[in-house]
Symmetry: C2
Subunit: 599 residues, 2 copies
């Protein structure tokens, strides 16, 4: 697999003008962002990231899946090569790309770390999760830790010598974090004794770093019930005096995919913990980690779709089976390459529409996150509202479509796709978790419709629709059909939201029954916006190219073809979701539990 630098550069430079965007951030933050953050700098990061991903991560992706992690006497051994690749990652200085310079970070904008994550995750999702989890811990400490905690933990996390985790889930508390029972008892010295069991802790124990910094949700003795009584604690594996803390890995999960990442059961037995921020504010702090993590999970969906696309595209050009229905295309060969068959093309274009459109959405959202965190003051609130709105769409939709996409890749491979050697079935197994962790698709859907639409009167959507209408105008002349379809989609989306919002406020079952379909509807509409932006830029670039060349540029032609495919073959799915939303909750809620489960 070679990295998709051409697509990345096209999006970063041509479509979203990240160099200009970084200049705007620098202007808004005198002294904070280096003037050097220009196109050449971005390209240098991309190239070095691609080299590292291809040379260090891709070669240990399948072996990591085959061998997995092993728990031996409480210690987790990661697969061969994982430790070495992590050492290289540290050497390259990437652990501190976005951290606070005061503690050794490079202080660069978040989006830049997203590009790096994109390259690495396309090559090896399981490995990339180890440093990925650290960033969540860094963000949480940075935002909510006190100066002593920052000084104690951030420097080591930012060099990468230590890694981080998020410890939320317990056996009986998954989506419902408020059911967590882990206890935190205040001691006389201001520390807390943490006791309880956490499960599904990614990178919870491993042999790649000197120390692991757990951010743990727990409950103080008098805390109110539910989410209002959750506090956040830092619990290092080795305490600050170097002594082993009371946190141990009881087992690692034997799971469907991401075998290279250790998913741990962690037992906390009066482990020393340091309260982050205030008591009972843990849920709020958790969302600092969670929202960034959700963006990354959406990116994982896109990355595996990318990896499977590149692999199945190459196979479709090589593999010879049957003749084109209209007659031989390669008469000199025993059969035609399967790329000639219309349905194989449909599967390839579906993958492109998802993998490339999804990447565009991730980059657009990353840019929005930069604006929220570092933009001019007058822009931040608006960017934050847009970011809040986009986050569940990115997480929910891009993982669902990512799963669809990698399955199309398996199908292109036929029987060979079912064999582990080919590598595509691993993508299916790896990506499956993205629809679940950091909040299932169902949780994202309730977040979108409940919190982001109903509770804000659709503020984020309205901001986004303005942006959509702006793009419609710029498209009207070059690509009137796409402009028309996008405008129609935007209007319909607005009307649908208004009607749904009204009826959902009267009947909460309407909300619960419509949420997932509303997420999908919104996802298709959002991707239509992304493909419209891509198409506009590709169209203009193709016009420029034609001035000097008799032949169209194939990269740009492919982009335009995929945009047209998206509008004619994938966007129409929204009609089904609209119809189901409008059908209401009756089919789901009018049946009794006993009848529903009488199998």
């Amino acid at each position: 697999m070679s990295s998709s630098l051409q697509d990345m550069r096209f999006l970063i430079h041509e479509v979203f003008d990240f160099a200009g965007h970084y200049q705007a951030l620098a202007a808004a933050n005198p002294g904070k962002f280096d003037d050097m953050l220009d196109g050449a700098f971005i390209d240098a990061v991309l190239e070095e990231g691609a080299r590292f991903s291809e040379q260090a991560l891709a070669p240990i992706n399948r072996s990591g899946d085959e061998h997995g992690c092993r728990l031996e006497a409480g210690e987790v051994k990661t697969p061969d090569g994982f430790k070495e690749a992590y050492a290289t990652y540290i050497e390259l200085g990437w652990a501190g790309l976005i951290g606070d310079p005061k503690y050794g970070g490079q202080g660069l904008p978040e989006s830049l770390s997203l590009f790096l994550e994109d390259l690495m995750c396309c090559a090896n999702m399981a490995w990339t999760m180890y440093p990925g989890l650290s960033r969540g811990a860094i963000n949480a400490l940075d935002a909510h830790g006190n100066d002593l905690q920052k000084a104690a933990f951030l420097p080591k996390l930012l060099t990468g010598a230590w890694t981080g985790t998020m410890c939320l889930t317990e056996p009986h508390a998954g989506s419902d974090v408020g059911l967590a029972k882990t206890r935190a008892k205040a001691g006389p010295d201001g520390t807390y004794a943490i006791t309880g069991t956490k499960i599904f802790i990614s990178a919870g124990e491993h042999d790649m770093a000197e120390n692991i910094v757990h951010l743990v949700l727990a409950r103080t003795p008098d805390a109110p019930a539910g989410t209002k009584g959750i506090s956040m604690f830092v619990v290092p594996k080795f305490d600050l005096d170097g002594s082993r803390n009371g946190v141990t890995c009881g087992s690692i999960e034997n799971k469907m995919g991401i075998h290279g990442n250790a998913t741990c059961v962690l037992h906390f037995d009066e482990a020393t913990g340091y309260l982050v921020g205030e008591e009972n504010q843990g849920m709020r702090y958790m969302f600092t980690m969670m929202n960034a993590a959700r963006l990354v999970v959406g990116l994982q969906g896109v990355c595996l779709a990318q990896a499977a696309l590149r692999s199945s595209m190459a196979y479709a050009r090589e593999r010879l089976q049957m003749r084109a229905l209209k007659g031989p295309v390669a008469p000199e060969k025993p059969a035609d390459p399967i790329i000639v068959h219309p349905d194989v093309r449909r599967m390839l274009l579906t993958q492109r529409a998802i993998a490339e459109g999804g990447r565009a959405l991730i980059y657009f959202t990353g840019q929005t996150a930069d604006r929220f965190l570092h933009g001019p003051a007058e822009d931040r609130v608006r960017a934050g509202e847009l970011l809040d709105f986009l986050t569940p769409i990115v997480k929910g939709m891009l993982t669902e479509l990512g799963f669809e996409s990698v399955n199309e890749a398996v199908q292109v491979y036929g029987g060979h796709g079912f064999i582990r050697e080919t590598g595509v079935e691993q993508h299916v197994r790896d990506v499956r978790i993205t629809l679940i962790y950091e909040g299932t698709t169902q949780i994202q859907a309730l977040d979108l419709l409940g919190r982001k639409i109903l509770m804000t009167q659709g503020k984020g959507l309205l901001i986004f629709l303005e942006e959509v209408h702006r793009v419609v105008e710029t498209l009207r002349e070059p690509l009137p059909e796409l402009a028309g379809a996008l405008a129609e989609t935007a209007d319909e989306w607005g009307r649908l939201t208004l009607e749904l919002g009204t009826s959902a406020q009267q009947d909460l079952d309407v909300l619960g029954a419509a949420a997932v379909d509303y997420l999908f509807y919104s996802g298709y509409a959002t991707l239509a916006y992304c493909w419209a932006r891509v198409a506009e830029v590709a169209w203009k670039a193709q016009q420029r190219h034609r001035r000097d060349s008799a032949e169209d540029d194939p990269f740009l032609a492919g982009k335009l073809a995929t945009a047209r495919f998206y509008f004619s073959r994938l966007l129409p799915r929204k009609a089904f979701h609209k119809q189901v939303i409008e059908a209401g909750p009756d089919a789901l809620v009018s049946v009794s539990d006993d009848a529903l489960s009488a199998l």
Copy 2:
């Protein structure tokens, strides 16, 4: 997992009246089918089959997945317990359920073996494939072998002492069987020397039977190119004189799922083969095996959906997470069972609609197969045309929906669904192959639209539509909404087919681009027919039940609710497929290969 006997009995007795059906077969075949083939006999088979499946097969399903098959010095060791379960299966006399009594079979109708296969595959798909493959070999020899071949192979296959395989695929010849290169050289004694390599041979080598009878497609020296030059040979692992024949297992595949079944690379090195029927007629004979096998693969999709449904339904009633949006349903517990959440109900109902509707379609098709093979002479042609039409729908649609269904089960489990211990992720890995083997979804789609619609002027569809209209009439009074939707679907399906047929004949790209969506459209329409039949019977039974009871019967209420769910929430998907079909092939074929693959 307990078997779904209630659902099976409801379909077999109430909906499809198999006892009456068997009486009609017996009447048409004096002396052939026993009068004893009544409802009580069917129930006895179901009960014994359920007991065997639950006691012998279910317990070795997950361990079979964990340990898989091992190749040691050319011999395949199946997972612990597989051999013993197979010995029990033989003892119970099931290997010869449907075979010719002349060679030791019990001569029962095919559908009865389908019920048994249903029970066994719900418990353990990988195991069930071993005897399943034998039935293909039995059918092929029975239909096309000469008397000597029948006498030599059938008795041992029908006791189960020997098993069979189908050897079609080669490294460069998958969907395109005509590319097969395996050679067959006639010897002076009338036997052939078979040389070549076959891959993806399920049950190609194992330790469960004394001998393995391979049905091999190969090419004689002067055979014409392509599918017209393919002949079929029987190649036993041990030749009839007991000597080891020249067929060896070179390796077994390491694959995504069905680990308990050995998927073999078989090397034929001048192995002794016996020509089946005539030279160059192998493709035709192959379809004797293939069509029955495709029905079984559709059943596999349904079975894994069934298994995952039962497991996730139980979990949804137990697992406590969050409160119902409208307020606590189980205030005495720390949270409500997740079955209260509308989207969890949607996932459960989706699974029911697929697993139970799919089973109805399988049984209806099995009944049609019985009529084709054993019905009154005047009915056979018509039944055969209907069967030809239904087969690609059963295979293509029920595997695609089966995959969707098991993934919904994983989603109901949340994070626990990704852990192997729970068992649902195994269903995803196991079922994935059903979309590929015995002809991919794409191949089924081309078969349906090309061969079964265009080449016959839609004969099978017209027969089926008559049947649909008959059901519409019986539904008009009890369930007018369903009747209306079904009638509308039938009319639209007919029009769509006519329009598509006309344009596809003018442009073969239309055919290639529309085929998969036409398969899905047809699949949704066919399942609507099945759910209508189920709903009609359930409605009448509920009316009867109400005469004696104040409360509705939950099983019947669940059936009616699932039927309504199907019509309001799944059937509407057909509109999307119609729209895409009508959009034509442009979006797929107007882009050049170079632009399509310029990533």
